[in-house]
């Protein structure tokens, strides 16, 4: 069986053989993995596939396997969020997106590795050790959905779900040479996804091609009453896949091509822009002056929200518990032992930013900066249809290279986190290579205008061949 198949090819294969055979072949590839992409491989996957074969299923993903990031609840599978503090926790309910996937007939292959509680850009902060980048096993796959991107790139799943709080779908998509979408805030329900920073994050799909992203969005997007920020946009994603960008107006924000950008990344992104031009689109430079404050604003807001969200991990109801003579000691020891260093750093900084005397200086100020960043997007996107820029300023770095200095690692999110402040949709598509490492083109659109974002991404893919290149080390 071919290792990298699109959803359409898999459905064909299921027709010729069976869902069980397709799932078995993925499990076999996973069994030989060199990348540590999965933290749990489902022992129910084959059974689930067999059931589809026996009972039949007319859902759009009948028998199609998928990998799920380990912060999205699946009944019966451990949900660790890459953390020791959730040791042994098995969710008793499904996330909304999982209910939708199961109703569509998808088979869950397993749960993928991630930075602890989605806090990181390298998947190195996981309690289960780092995931390797399939293009170079000594490099990071990006993060925090590094496991999801890496298993898709390595042919260990046709597609996957991740979550994106400040770039956690797009960064690993860029580093691993796959496609990753951060939908508009509110487009996909967050119910059953372990919260890091509620006002910023969205569940997003990762796949080897744009069509499979759209297929997945048609299944997982839509209104859910259990998520109070859910919005019913009635968007039809697959219908947007048209190979045509004639007349499309593209804005190029100079602020995304700042100091420290790798020259090959800059070149690859400009080549992509010129490709669009040759296909009938027009481009112009736009200015977004407040973008340079976005990273600081993003981290203050994300850490503040995290300090509140992660208060629930106290050893009382689930997961790891350390003993202590009274409640305060038990909780303080549990959290000291159960959380990793980076998570503790962010909780402490968030607690500080919200504490008496500092709330206005940090948290409130960051929220005001967020308003200005959002206005930059509104203004830029009122004059053009889309914005384009590098997803990541540099290709994947080496495992261990940046982990000791948190600020250096935070700075790598400079081009992805502004999008989460504004809540707009953004996709990363492969657009080139440097020294054998993939480069991602980031395409940003107006709120709920995923159709235009997908159309542009699809057209690029139809007219280039970056998305069909495969990592030689795992081939």
């Amino acid at each position: 069986m071919a290792k990298w198949m699109s959803v359409a090819q898999i459905k064909e294969k299921i027709g010729e053989s069976s869902a069980e055979e397709v799932t078995a072949s993925y499990l076999e590839v996973i069994g030989k993995s060199k990348i540590n992409g999965y933290v749990t491989v489902s022992d129910k996957a084959l059974e689930q596939a067999k059931k589809i074969d026996v009972e039949g299923h007319d859902g759009p993903l009948a028998g199609v396997p998928i990998a799920i990031k380990d912060n999205i609840s699946v009944v019966g599978l451990p949900n660790s969020c890459g953390s020791k503090i959730l040791e042994g926790y098995v969710p008793p309910f499904n996330a909304h997106v999982i209910e939708k996937l199961l109703a569509a007939g998808a088979v869950v292959l397993g749960k993928t590795n991630m930075d602890e509680f989605a806090m990181g850009s390298s998947t190195e902060t996981s309690h289960f050790g780092p995931t390797a980048n399939p293009w170079d096993l000594e490099r990071v796959p990006g993060g925090s959905s590094g496991g999801s991107a890496a298993v898709v790139a390595a042919g260990e799943a046709p597609f996957a779900l991740g979550s994106d709080t400040g770039g956690s779908v797009r960064c690993p998509a860029a580093f691993c040479g796959v496609v990753g979408l951060k939908p508009t805030y509110g487009a996909v329900s967050r119910y059953g996804v372990v919260a890091y920073a509620n006002s910023l994050e969205q569940v997003g799909p990762l796949a080897n091609n744009v069509e499979d992203i759209a297929v997945l969005m048609d299944v997982i997007a839509g209104y859910d009453r259990k998520d109070s920020t859910s919005i019913d946009s009635k968007t039809e994603y697959r219908k947007a896949l048209v190979d045509d960008v004639k007349g499309l107006k593209i804005g190029i924000p100079q602020e995304f091509f700042g100091e420290g950008i790798h020259p090959d990344v800059e070149k690859a992104v400009w080549n992509a822009i010129h490709k669009y031009e040759s296909l009938g689109a027009t481009w112009k430079e736009v200015s977004m002056p407040n973008i340079k404050y976005a990273l600081a604003s993003y981290y203050i807001i994300a850490m503040s929200e995290a300090s509140s969200n992660l208060a629930r991990f106290d050893g009382t109801r689930y997961g790891f518990r350390e003993s202590g003579e009274n409640w305060h000691t038990m909780v303080s020891k549990t959290r000291a032992e159960g959380f990793g260093t980076e998570v503790k750093r962010r909780i402490l900084l968030g607690t500080y930013a919200l504490s008496a005397g500092y709330h206005d200086k940090y948290y409130l100020k960051a929220l005001k900066v967020r308003t200005l960043v959002k206005q930059d997007f509104d203004k830029a996107l009122s004059a053009v249809d889309l914005l384009m820029a590098p997803t990541m300023p540099n290709p994947a770095f080496r495992i261990g290279e940046k982990i000791e200095d948190p600020l250096t690692l935070y700075l790598s999110d400079v081009n992805t986190c502004p999008i989460n402040l504004a809540g707009v949709p953004s996709i990363s598509v492969p657009c080139g290579f440097t020294d054998g490492l993939p480069i991602g083109l980031q395409i940003m659109g107006k709120p709920f205008d995923e159709p235009t974002v997908l159309r542009a991404a699809y057209t690029f893919e139809q007219n280039t061949d970056y998305h069909i290149k495969r990592p030689p080390e795992v081939a």
Binding site: G88, I231, T316, G319, A336, F339, L348, A366, L372, L421
Partner: protein, 93 residues
């Protein structure tokens, strides 16, 4: 600048036990990040309203009716520390 006492205080607020050596390490790393955060001070924001989230949604209500929820025995399956249908924790004080 965060001091050692500040780290101890926020550690208490966040219920994370921090030993003497960690206090110094956190102080250094946290200060380097806070120094970076300080750059937003240069942006004038007196007349700017804060954005808490970007969804144009306010006050989502539902009828105050009891709905289906997880049974108690299922909720208690994820811990060994339970008694008489409740979670068991050490005394507060």
């Amino acid at each position: 600048m965060i001091t050692k006492e500040d780290v101890e205080h926020i550690g208490w607020l966040a219920r994370i036990e921090i030993n003497e050596q960690e206090t110094v390490e956190y102080m250094e790393k946290l200060n380097s990040v806070l120094e970076y955060f300080g750059q937003i001070d240069e942006l004038p924001t007196e007349d700017v309203a804060p954005t808490y989230h970007v969804a144009e949604i306010y006050n989502v209500f539902r009828e105050d009716m009891v709905e289906e929820c997880l049974p108690q025995e299922i909720v208690l399956t994820n811990t060994e520390h339970k008694q008489d249908g409740a979670f068991r924790v050490p005394k507060i004080g």
